[in-house]
């Protein structure tokens, strides 16, 4: 098989940087909504979170032990054990009394230290002897030592982690205002598209795009509100682009210049095409624009690998932007050494799936064409060769986006 070469850069081609700048400038996070804490995981704060009380609210035992008055303990040693009454109450301590406490318990009134159980020499139900002293404040969490009332705990824009949810629970914060999830409609345009479980007729294409895109949109914090498969029905595409209550409409397929490629012309008729022809391979036939009502429309190529990369490199950024997340790719990166050279077209940003061959060594995947989804099956990550570059020599250090977390 001989692949068609990447499209050459044209005068009217958009560079990837221009496209990402357009997304950053044109799109703003969706309206906030207030949600109960149980639904906040992974969401992006639309407000600062301020502690409305000290944490802890009262002095608390840091360890299991005996709450005591530090002054009472002075002089206790193994040679001079001091005897204490074991209080049944954990409310308040009198002189020469101690009380058993669990880690996390509030200290009894008038106690100011917790003695480790190791320091207990002998004990019965009512008394115990201590063989060492501790200073005031020992193993005690003072009021406000974790956070002071009025402190900003989390700032607007933070994406809430599991530990953050724990902090909110600890602070007694039951609900918060977060950026709304971008509501996205998915429209599949294409000749004889069949669900992939059906037997394949000669002219039909299995739909690999929608199951893939749904997961990626979800990963980026979006919500797929509907999914229509409309074949080559121009009226249905017009209708889909007139849907309301959406933050974006993604049209998959029909973005090229062939006989069935109606997506960009229909968008141009009913709204506006802002960006078409991106200097990106695979995925350059993606386009961005707006409906007449100014809903974002993203056109994605139907060919699965092109669809994947158009989403990952361009369109996914719009989902993250609408959801208040960072526009940057949600992959960790690593500097690795390239075992074989990569030749790239100047003027085109190229994506190269790579696999690890040795510790810190990668090479381009050759088991399947680069513009096949199958190339990713054996890839451990990918390299983005910028449009100004004509490639990378063998032995070069390359920034590799790691597959490990591209779920």
């Amino acid at each position: 098989m001989k692949s068609a070469p990447p499209r050459p850069a044209r005068a009217r081609c958009w560079s990837l940087d221009e496209v990402l700048a357009w997304i950053a400038a044109e799109l703003t996070p969706t309206s906030p909504e207030t949600l109960p804490r149980i639904e906040l995981f992974g969401r992006v704060l639309a407000t600062d979170v301020v502690a409305f009380a000290d944490e802890p609210l009262q002095p608390r035992a840091l360890i299991d032990g005996l709450a005591a008055r530090a002054d009472d303990l002075v002089g206790a040693t193994a040679y001079n054990p001091l005897s204490f009454r074991l209080s049944a109450s954990t409310e308040a301590l009198r002189a020469r009394e101690v009380a058993l406490v669990n880690a996390g318990d509030p200290l009894p009134t008038d106690s100011d230290a917790v003695v480790p159980l190791d320091y207990v020499h002998a004990a019965d139900a009512n008394r115990c002897e201590l063989i060492d002293s501790v200073p005031s404040g020992h193993a005690v969490e003072a009021v406000g030592s974790h956070v002071r009332r009025g402190t900003t705990v989390f700032s607007t824009g933070r994406q809430l982690s599991a530990a953050d949810i724990g902090v909110l629970a600890q602070l007694g914060i039951g609900s918060l205002s977060v950026i709304g999830q971008p509501r996205i409609g998915l429209v599949l345009v294409g000749r004889d598209l069949v669900d992939s479980d059906c037997p394949l007729a000669k002219s039909a294409t299995r739909d690999a795009d929608s199951p893939m895109l749904s997961r990626l949109i979800e990963r980026d914090g979006g919500l797929v509100v509907f999914q229509h498969s409309i074949g080559r029905d121009v009226a249905a595409l017009h209708a889909a682009l007139a849907e309301i209550g959406l933050d974006a409409i993604f049209v998959v397929g029909g973005t090229g210049q062939g006989p069935d490629d109606l997506s960009s012309s229909v968008l141009a008729e009913t709204g506006s095409v802002a960006i078409h022809e991106i200097a990106l391979y695979p995925g350059g036939s993606a386009a961005l624009g707006h409906t007449a009502r100014h809903t974002l429309v993203c056109l994605l190529p139907g060919r699965p690998a092109a669809c994947l990369w158009a989403y990952e490199i361009v369109v996914g950024g719009s989902v993250r932007r609408l959801g208040g997340r960072d526009l940057a790719l949600p992959y960790e990166t690593c500097s690795l050494t390239l075992a074989r050279k990569i030749v790239s077209t100047i003027g085109v940003t190229e994506i190269w799936p790579v696999r690890m061959t040795d510790f810190n060594i990668v090479e381009p995947v050759t088991t399947a064409p680069r513009d096949s989804l199958l190339a990713l099956a054996s890839a451990d990550g990918f390299i983005i060769v910028p449009e100004a570059s004509e490639g990378l020599p063998a032995g070069a250090t390359a920034k590799v986006y790691l597959r490990g977390l591209c779920r």
Copy 2:
């Protein structure tokens, strides 16, 4: 506030490496289940995936263009345009016929190349003139060029990504056998534990652990099947440890040595405690064992930061192991420079939340005690100081686990 120092290492203390080796040796992935493709995202293959047909199954156009016989094109140039009949059918081509095809379409029988639309000089409904030739195979995807029938596409143990789901769709694979999700019961032991939205009575503790653990268990591929809050009810703990149909029971709280700490003694009575006292701070009072029926039991400290780290560093590995995932921490790491020294106790693995102060520079978080969840609010990641180390000097390069992805 003066913190209690990390527990010193004791003769019977388990090192973190020993604990992780125990998890790897004692636990095996749960039984596989067969699921439809729509539920496969993020799941771990229990079987190899083999392509049962070539992909593509028939030669396919790589670009929008004109399907042609390459032999017919020889000699076409701008000075010598060749004329072709435009076939209405895309089934089969006769000599000196071409047919419009979309990228992804199967090639008409007897065609062997696709001519880019740029090469069309003039055209009407029935004829067109071409001004350049292409060789046989140009812009054609040959049968099996993405993957050959019988090739192993994905191996057992792979966690399926969004692109992988696309590959399965493309190959027409509708269901697969994957490792079952570990089914986990969550039991909260503790004095006067209240849901965190309730007003806080003097002696009560807000439950920050269960919302946090639920998200983390979910992240690691586990399924929280039930959650019981049982206070100090020993009989209820016995009953919970007798539950069947679970892969693991996590008991939160009551793991220390204080008056209410019943978890490990009840586990010892009804089953067996394999590991108790881990040389880890925070989180060292975690324990691992089995019920009488040999269901895994993990005891987690109730104090939120200790609970978090006991889960992250130890117990989470058991969830991933049961679910067939990698035991390793699901965080990306990065080598960064430490701006201020860290002092750590020899014999104890210590966790230090750190925050970025400058490009590639981190320092320990000081806004909240290290054993407070709040320390994580301003952390960008954490450092694990191994038990053999007494700390790291200022200027040292440290492996930092990045918060960015610890969702």
